[in-house]
Symmetry: C2
């Protein structure tokens, strides 16, 4: 009943994995979903992306598992239907445009409303891992903006 | 910017957590979302439910973190928009109506299509933990059926 998964592209949609769409229960083993390296035009530093699941004809949510090395972060971006981050390991930062960056830790669930410009990543000293879940509207789940410069990234964080 | 979360009911919707719906980025700490014990009329054995996030006016997906002790399992049920399980720890079983139960392990992602009658839980000898994600359609994300009897639960599994 397991299914051979189609190749996953991470460059544009970032975090969606393989599409689920069979008739019965499907078990997609970790081995069937290869880790990808996040594209340098959307991320700073080393970021790994493990696809988890994607949208299908019924469901709108897709998800990926993201691993940021220390200093690594996404570019600024927005999500048309918002985003949820479930922090699973390490210590990270999240910042919305116009606000201070904030520390996030395992067990934290972060909600980013639709259209809110933000970035997330590891701290300067720590790796961070999270599951990212976002819904697709009109074929899009993310809109990418400029990268986070070292000065922005290094500004003081709120604990 | 953190938000005091409303009380979470787990009896009917099982796996949805607090609703996200603010203007800016919200960090919902693990501490703000208390663990609940799954209701005995829907589950057999000891099952703990940690709400992760719920639906709001924009998004349809909700999620919870579920911990099954050995021998513990859900009742048979269906989801109107299907369900995704991300297995995070232990060893578990999943079974759809008319099929053999199958073993699931950390890293596996399980897709249950809409309307497919199924159950999931720990194995007879092992605890299992998973994140469960389901979308809400017409105000519902699950339809509960009969419990999984000991004879059904103990039948041979496919590896």
């Amino acid at each position: 009943m397991n299914r051979k998964l189609a190749a996953v592209t991470v460059s544009s949609l970032l975090l969606s994995g393989a599409s689920a769409g069979a008739q019965g229960v499907e078990i997609m083993s970790n081995k069937s979903r290869a880790t990808a390296t996040a594209p340098a035009e959307r991320f700073t530093g080393k970021v790994l992306l493990d696809p988890l699941f994607g949208v299908n004809s019924v469901t709108r949510a897709g998800a990926g598992y993201v691993t940021f090395e220390p200093g690594a972060r996404s570019a600024w971006h927005t999500h048309p239907a918002g985003q949820i981050l479930i922090v699973t390991s390490g210590t990270g930062w999240v910042q919305e445009w116009g606000g201070e960056k904030q520390e996030i830790r395992p067990g934290d669930v972060v909600y980013i409303p639709p259209g809110v410009k933000h970035w997330h990543g590891g701290t300067a000293t720590h790796r961070m891992e999270h599951i990212a879940i976002q819904e697709t509207i009109d074929g899009r789940n993310v809109d990418w903006l400029e990268k986070v410069g070292d000065e922005q990234y290094g500004a003081a964080a709120r604990r």
